[in-house]
């Protein structure tokens, strides 16, 4: 990848920022500078980059993107929690922690749910040990850019043998009066035998297009259990690159559900490394794409050690001129015997002008493994529509019922009931049912 002209303005912006810090060397400074060096070496991907073959991010990057958008005025009503969900709510505006809008109560001893500044005061050791350790700034330019510009971060820490009963709900609100690059960051650590449910929702409220470059890094300790639900409900014009990097320790379970309900260009990178035995990994996803929007889900499950299980289940509904991409890679390394890995990707394409690119990739170096994948892309079944109409449903009702049912297959995998209801309602609304 050759550095392109695109990156120079980010370099300039970075240097301005570092100069403005006036030599006050925060522990993060070295990491930021290292990430910036990596970023200038890597440059942005082009259409010739294999992993970005179908996703043209260049048009977004050509825009005049302001990199300092700390000043925001967001309608506070939008910080409203999910109805019926009893959660610790932590709010970020353009990536900056808003303590006043957050509701974090009765945390068990040792649990931390806060922004970077507070965490740096009380838990400097924790940040030094984990921050930037799994988020891959060495090979992913977007992670490098995010890391270089780190100002704040959500920090969620559940110490060993601690169960956080109520979910943590991270609300990311994006709002800007100018075309801006917003770079939210999240660090999550569930230590040995800890248990945590994490919900991430992002809402863009500005009418002006924005580019969100989000990074979430997660450490799942020995026998720990972590469920994450990510809901992206972005308006037209919003571009998103979201990177999730996860590392799992022995006997841990990581359960992820990604819902992409809107946005002009959305690229989700999920990389899970199971560098320990007896891990279970579940990656579920649903996307709805209409108009000219483009949704690209890129996942990698890296089985580095034996006796692990992974299951991937992605579905998409595409209409109009939308395009969808699913690239699911499962890597089974030579020493990783007795791996069971399953992958399924199903899409419904409603219009002749919509496109779906499905690319399962199994790369297996061990010989005693069970891996399977299946990808189907089709239209709504005419026979099914006829059957429903023969029972009195209008064509519109019949189509909606088929689509909502297709999507519910993914929402049903979310274990939190109030969240399932919210998702079903959102999806029904998006499908015009």
């Amino acid at each position: 990848m050759t550095p392109s002209a695109d990156i120079t303005r980010f370099v300039t912006a970075f240097e301005h920022r570092e100069a403005a810090r006036n030599g006050s060397h925060f522990w993060l400074g070295d990491l930021r500078r290292e990430a910036m060096r990596q970023f200038t070496t890597l440059g942005f991907p082009t259409r010739k980059t294999e992993a970005w073959k179908y996703t043209n991010i260049a048009s977004t990057l050509r825009r005049t993107l302001a990199t300092d958008v700390s000043v925001v005025s967001v309608d506070n009503a939008r910080a409203a929690p999910i109805p019926g969900l009893d959660a610790h709510v932590i709010v970020f505006d353009n990536g900056r922690y808003r303590a006043a809008l957050s509701h974090i109560q009765d945390l068990p001893d040792g649990v931390l749910v806060t922004g970077l500044a507070e965490a740096a005061q009380s838990h400097a050791w924790l940040l030094r040990r984990y921050f930037g350790r799994v988020a891959d700034y060495e090979t992913c330019p977007f992670v490098a850019l995010n890391t270089a510009f780190t100002e704040d971060s959500a920090v969620v820490y559940v110490p060993a043998n601690t169960v956080l009963e109520r979910p943590v709900h991270l609300v990311h609100r994006i709002s800007s009066g100018q075309d801006a690059l917003v770079q939210p960051r999240v660090l999550v650590i569930a230590e040995d035998n800890a248990r945590l449910t994490l919900i991430q929702t992002s809402v863009t409220t500005s009418a002006i297009p924005t580019f969100t470059n989000a990074v979430t890094e997660i450490f799942v300790g020995r026998d720990a259990h972590l469920e994450r639900i990510d809901i992206q409900d972005e308006p037209d014009g919003a571009s998103v690159v979201s990177s999730l990097d996860v590392t799992q320790d022995t006997g841990s379970t990581f359960h992820n559900s990604s819902f992409t309900l809107g946005g002009s260009i959305v690229r989700n990178n999920i990389n899970v490394l199971t560098d320990a035995e007896h891990c279970q990994t579940f990656l579920n996803g649903l996307f709805l794409a209409e108009g000219a929007s483009h949704v690209d889900n890129h996942t990698l499950i890296d089985h580095a050690k034996p006796q692990c299980y992974s299951s991937e289940y992605y579905k998409g509904i595409l209409d109009d001129r939308a395009t969808g991409v699913f690239n699911g890679k499962v890597l089974v390394r030579q020493d990783a015997q007795q791996i069971n890995a399953y992958q399924s990707n199903k899409s419904i394409v409603l219009a002749d002008t919509a496109r779906m690119y499905a690319k399962p990739e199994l790369e297996i170096y061990a010989d005693d493994v069970k891996c399977s994948h299946g990808a189907t892309t089709g239209q709504l079944d005419d026979e099914a529509i006829f059957y429903l109409r023969a029972r009195g449903l209008t064509e519109k009702q019949a189509r909606s019922l088929m689509l909502v049912s297709f999507a519910r297959d993914v929402t049903e995998r979310v274990t939190i009931a109030p969240l399932r209801e919210v998702l079903d309602a959102l999806i029904t609304e998006h499908l015009g049912a």
Binding site: A390, G392, L401, S405
Partner: protein, 256 residues
């Protein structure tokens, strides 16, 4: 009195091949009619046209239902007006839950009739009662529509939906095909339980055996796209004994 269903000189073709060549059939309210005939006689085409399938071209004749032109109605409109087709091959709807499906179907029909929609509790009660009536395994109500159902369960599910939607005219398209004798008897019991003075049935079948259990008021024999012989229930027995060949011979003198 206006017949419930009046088919006059119906002609239809598929891909320019003539299949129905002048069908006449009149059904009054409360009657059960059996339409029998050998394979390829046009029985299922008749059912498909009544249900509103669009892969057939009606080239002549008329179908009136409650005095209205049935052929002018969309398939869902027919259903809301009280026409029900029990499918020969019920469709599997993966992910569509039975209760969700029933709720939408029942309430769209109720709305059309000017009735209040049923809430979840009333619907569940009605479903439970009808499932008992049809001997439908209650656990099937918790599954996706027809998904993974056995042949018998699928057919029973059709009759269950019939019970839920309370149609005025029910057309059973080869409901007996693929059923063993026990399943056949239990499906027939369900149908018999649903026979009322204000509901008519058109039972389309190849074999007489279904008519041992669902005793029709009238039997019609269809050969080569026309109804060539009509009679009472004893006609079915004669067919069982003598096959379709004697009908063919008897009617071959009649000009097409």
């Amino acid at each position: 009195m206006t017949p419930l269903l009046e088919i006059q000189n119906l002609h239809a073709s598929v891909e320019e091949m003539s299949i129905l060549k002048g069908v006449d059939l009149t059904v009054h309210i409360g009657e059960t009619h059996a339409v029998m005939g050998p394979n390829g006689s046009g029985k299922s085409t008749l059912a498909a046209i009544l249900a509103g399938r669009e892969d057939y071209d009606v080239t002549g004749g008329s179908v009136f239902y409650q005095g209205e032109d049935l052929l002018e109605m969309d398939v869902d409109e027919r259903a809301r007006e009280g026409v029900f087709l029990a499918f020969q091959y019920p469709v599997e709807l993966p992910g569509v839950s039975m209760m969700n499906f029933l709720k939408q179907a029942v309430n769209s029909v109720r709305e059309h009739r000017g009735q209040e929609p049923l809430n979840a509790a009333s619907l569940l009660r009605l479903a439970r009662r009808n499932a008992e009536l049809i001997h439908l395994d209650p656990s099937l109500k918790k599954r996706s529509v027809n998904e993974g159902f056995s042949g018998g369960e699928k057919k029973r599910n059709e009759i269950f939906q019939l019970a839920m939607l309370e149609p005025t005219l029910a057309i059973l398209d080869e409901t007996d095909s693929g059923l063993d004798i026990d399943a056949l008897r239990s499906v027939a019991d369900g149908v018999n339980a649903l026979r009322t003075p204000d509901r008519s049935f058109v039972v389309i079948t190849h074999y007489q055996r279904l008519l041992d259990y669902i005793i029709p008021d009238f039997v019609h024999v269809m050969v080569d796209g026309r109804i060539v012989k009509s009679g009472g229930k004893e006609l079915a027995l004669a067919l069982e004994e003598r096959g379709y060949e004697w009908i063919r011979e008897e009617t071959s003198a009649v000009p097409a």
